[in-house]
């Protein structure tokens, strides 16, 4: 197992390096002009040249690359061309917000969807199965920001059981110092109970919205995988040999899990940068919002940094996923 992890981390490192190189050269090959984007198209040639020099874009692409790489080696991702602050610092506050949001959403989604999926598989064509089928069509057909808006309207405006979608904390609450960058964790560590409850209060609706959206495919996958296992030879054989029902159920669930986990892992990686609409609707300054800003501003260092971070985190998630699968299924080890 140890060797396997080491090998995977090694491969992950190579992938990260490859992506770093590709992203660097590809964005510079795009027909875009970040200098003009910064100083305006009507600026004088002098101003333009000055801005170009200050961004380091007057140097050859190769020397820009060596500068970038020597920074990377020192753990420096460069400075944003728009805000002038360190990319690493900006990512350090944006990433945890997204991670907290989607991790909670996935925990909630798995907690609800897996049992629901199992129940629907056990009674195909039953009431729950039909309801879930309807939900899958309904939820899947409409975009996520729309659900965010609907939920805000319903839970905040109509029922008043959710806060206004204005960020992670209410305006009057003093946020805890940034330690991990996750509102719940930081407030808990510093013992700031007021901030903790406020953070939780502001999180529940966006978490539920995301969970609502990702649950559809997870339930579907659970149901399908479970049906396949329930109809398999070995479950039939266990029943025929008089194995107690609870043990048969455990075997069934274990055998149904791998595809579900794989799907969840893929969705998780996707939402790292893709939760942008939800983040925007609820005014969370997460990674999704950050990456959109970076792209719109042609902020090359920010784009490079975001891609690198998403790559590293995704690879980490996939590694954990593969280790989990290897624990569940002994055939994976070979």
């Amino acid at each position: 197992m140890g060797r396997y992890v080491l090998k995977r981390v090694g491969i992950g490192l190579l992938q990260a390096i490859g992506i770093t190189v590709v992203v660097f050269f590809v964005i510079r090959a795009l027909p875009a002009d970040p200098v003009a984007r910064l100083v305006g198209f009507n600026s004088s040639p002098e101003v333009y040249a000055q801005a170009q020099a200050s961004l380091g874009l007057d140097a050859s692409v190769w020397s820009q690359f060596t500068t970038y790489v020597s920074g990377l080696v020192r753990g420096d991702l460069g400075v944003s061309w728009v805000t002038g602050s360190s990319i690493l610092g900006e990512l350090r506050s944006a990433l945890p917000i997204t991670l907290q949001l989607i991790t909670l959403a996935f925990a909630l989604a798995l907690l609800v969807s897996v049992p629901v999926g199992i129940a629907t598989a056990k009674r195909p064509g039953g009431k729950l199965d039909k309801t879930v089928f309807g939900y899958g069509l309904f939820a899947g057909a409409q975009p996520e920001f729309w659900w965010g808006l609907l939920f805000i309207f319903f839970f905040y405006y109509t029922l008043g059981i959710a806060p206004a979608p204005l960020g992670q904390y209410a305006p009057g609450v003093t946020p805890p110092p940034e330690i991990t960058g996750m509102s719940l964790v930081d407030s808990l560590i510093t013992g700031n109970i007021a901030a903790f409850t406020d953070a939780a209060w502001h999180l529940w609706l966006p978490v539920m919205t995301l969970a609502f959206i990702v649950s559809g495919p997870i339930i579907k996958m659970t149901r399908q995988s479970m049906s396949r296992v329930l109809g398999s030879e070995f479950i039939l054989y266990q029943q025929a040999s008089g194995i107690p029902a609870n043990k048969v159920a455990r075997s069934t669930i274990r055998a149904s899990l791998p595809p579900v986990l794989t799907l969840a892992g893929i969705l998780f990686g996707f939402l790292l940068g893709g939760a942008v609409l939800i983040e925007q609707v609820f005014a969370f300054n997460g990674l999704g919002s950050y990456s959109v800003r970076a792209v719109l501003n042609l902020d090359y260092p920010a784009i490079q940094g975001t891609v690198l971070i998403i790559t590293i985190v995704s690879l980490g998630v996939y590694l954990v996923l593969d280790l989990l699968l290897a624990v569940i299924d002994p055939r994976v080890k070979n």
Partner: protein
Amino acid sequence: MNERILATKGLTVTYPTVQGSFTAVNGVNLELNSGEIVGLIGESGSGKTSLALGLLALARYPGRVSGSIDFMGQELLTLPEEKLREIRGRSIGLITQKPRQSLNPFQNVGTQIGRVYRAHVDASKAQAQDHAIELLENVGINDPQRRIKAYPHELSGGMAQRALISMALSAQPQLLVADEPTSGLDVTIQAQFLDRMWQRAEETGTAVLLVTQDLGIVANYCDRVLVLENGKLVEDAPTREFFANPTDAYSKKVLSLAGERAQAETASQEAGSQTPLIRLEGLRKTFKLDDGKVLSAVSDVSLTVMQGRSLGLVGESGSGKTTVGRLILRLLEADEGDIWFRDTDLTAMSTREFREFRSKIQVVFQDPFDSLNPRWSVEKAISEPLDLHTKMSKAEKAQRVSELLDQVGLSADVRGSRPSGLSAGQQQRVCLARALSTEPDFLVLDEPTSALPPVARVEMIALLKDLRERLGLSFIFISHDLSTVRELCQDVAVMYLSQIVEMGPTSKVFAHPEHPYTRALLDSVLFHDPLDRRVDREHLGALEGEIPSPIDLPKGCYLAGRCPFAEDRCREEPQLLQITEPDHLVRCWKSVEGILSGASVVG
């Protein structure tokens, strides 16, 4: 003896589908008595497996069982879950058709055997473990302490089946339900198992329901026969009566086909020419395994197929016969040896040259459904080789497809069908038509009849015979089914563990088998005659165990470890294929010197 063990009334198994529910078993009334072996036959899809499982009050998800099942005075369908659980696996044992898939892929074998044991016996985990070790030991699995840690995918199908059979029998059930228990096993092992089951029923009074497609098994082992058609029992008769005087249409058809086959002469000797078409010389193929060991799949195989004749290549699975077929097709490259096609050495051709040449040598594989693209119509499947090898116009191709469909006995309506809409027999005809499309001189037929139900199998054999005569086709027919080979092929080569051990005209080899392995194979053949049962015969020269793995082959005779006639010289001296008569070759010094004891088994 002969008390009633189980009786069903109106037993019905239904499966919900999108269009409503599908009834697989429809109101079956049957009785099973102690000490009785009852055969259940019927076409594939007739509901045999559903009925067999239904006797345990069990249906494959999401099916449902209804009606009434009286098992030794208890109504199984209304029994509480816990009581039912106690009966399953203890009083009613099940042996399934797919042994490896019946084991949980995520758990090691020892744990699974132990679990079943502990489900019925009050034992500790350690005791269950000991039980598992003992059980594996009893079925002849080497190093059971280590093997109980193995996962199902690390076992061979035969090994898994023996373990499951042993599990089912060790509980000493009153009723054993066996669903095609030997369909994946080789004939010699099949005979071993069925003999044992028969003995068990005789001695302990276990009632057995034996689901099978093989009339030979029915004739040899069953006391009574049930025939299922579309979920309904259409026949319930004592075996001899069934064979003598079947009443329903399906039984009549199956038996009349079987009767024709029994009367069919061994393939005629004179047909074909004496011009060699394909000649293999000293073919050798090894595979390097991950752990550095070498597996010899084919060692020193030489054989000749004459123009217009057919050669049967027989042997158990693992004997290397399929590898020989692939070497001829150059799907695998031989390590050594030559393959002569008339005067051309195929092994000397470049890959590109061979690609063009390939239209002359075509292949049909065992599983027709796997060999066809599920999204392609029959027409497209058959005309694809024409696209590759000819420059025919569209109209010419359509014309050729019609000819081919006619040749293989398919009606023109199937042109637009997809494989999933055809029966297995029709699918295999499509594969055959595709193979014939480029007018090949030679066909490699790799178990083309093994995956087919009995009726389709008989029809396929008739078709192949007919094509050989009409088109002058030559082929090598790879099979483990000896009766088919006897009927279809003029020559036969018997393979064992990468070598040919006996070769000659079919009539000679089958009438006077020389090699102990050939004798054992022929002895295991089950004839369709309830008056001449294997269980009533004496067996000379039965083999022990099963075919060893082709890694680290022994120095002397490869069969010595299993051969009842083996002595020291056999173990020491490598055996050569020697001529006993001008056209009969045997790889056994005892046969050659005429000192092999025991009379010829099949007269």
